[in-house]
Symmetry: C2
Subunit: 169 residues, 2 copies
């Protein structure tokens, strides 16, 4: 179950297609399984573009304004970090049957900001697997995803319950 995805930019369409065929059902998951994504570099322009659209606060938009703020220098919106984490996960070949469908997060924290030039990767670990009481043919896996920068420092920790299909009878 432990699979290492290639760097996003190296993933050939054919490899992606194969991974898509290898969807994992609820019965394929077990606590302790780990999964590692490729990497993704975050540029200053991307930080500002995301902020302009979704989190237009000075410290996410402008270097000078950021210097006088809590962050001290330009920092990505936490929601940008969350969105990039999702992209890394989707592109990594982590492929529960039915898709990666989050139902409820129990924790989401940003221990340190993402800075221009940071290179992010995601480590995912399965914490729990359980059947759904109300939704026949489905269950939930609880996963912790830790998003790390190039120094191995966590920039986001997310504990999310994902809806997953059971293997068809």
């Amino acid at each position: 179950m432990v699979r290492r995805a290639t760097h996003a930019s190296e993933s050939a369409p054919r490899w992606r297609h194969l991974l898509r065929l290898m969807a994992l059902y609820l019965e394929d998951f077990a606590p302790g399984q780990k999964h590692v994504s490729g990497t993704l570099r975050v540029e200053s322009d991307a930080i500002k573009a995301f902020a302009a659209q979704f989190d237009p606060q000075p410290f996410h938009l402008d270097e000078d304004a950021a210097r006088g703020s809590f962050f001290g220098s330009l920092a990505a919106s936490g929601w940008h970090t969350a969105a990039l984490t999702m992209r890394l996960l989707v592109e990594s070949g982590f492929r529960p049957a039915g898709g990666i469908i989050g139902s409820r997060a129990e924790e989401l924290k940003w221990p340190r900001p993402v800075r221009p030039g940071d290179e992010l990767r995601v480590e995912a670990e399965v914490l729990e697997v359980r059947a759904s009481g109300s939704r026949p043919g489905h269950g939930f896996i609880k996963c912790r995803t830790t998003t790390l920068n190039q120094n191995g420092e966590p920039v986001q920790v997310l504990v999310m319950n994902l809806l997953v299909q059971s293997r068809p009878a």
Copy 2:
């Protein structure tokens, strides 16, 4: 403390400027305070554009693919809903001193998907106010933001701890 923001598109720059001057310090917050955002309509193109960049799964990208999925028709990524919630909050005039800086969410759920044409608004409520033990001059407010569609149905519930400056002595 209960302030109602005007519709985003109706907010004059001058009104925004005044709100920016009215930053709220830790001492200005109390449990039970509520705040309501303006509204924002989510179009199909925006759902697909966000998904292409951050959550490239078929049910967020393509109407036909979505029909055969868990969602039944095109649905926004939950992270898109989260990002739009942040934008509504930032634009609403909810203005803690130092900015809206999330440190840790205790809950994040998406009770139903956002669909093309949905019109979203955010209701925020202060749940707790506490000083910081480790960070002099700062404290935390715990807020619940509920993002609602045009039918008053919740599409996201987020309980977030925000870092807020104390009033200067």
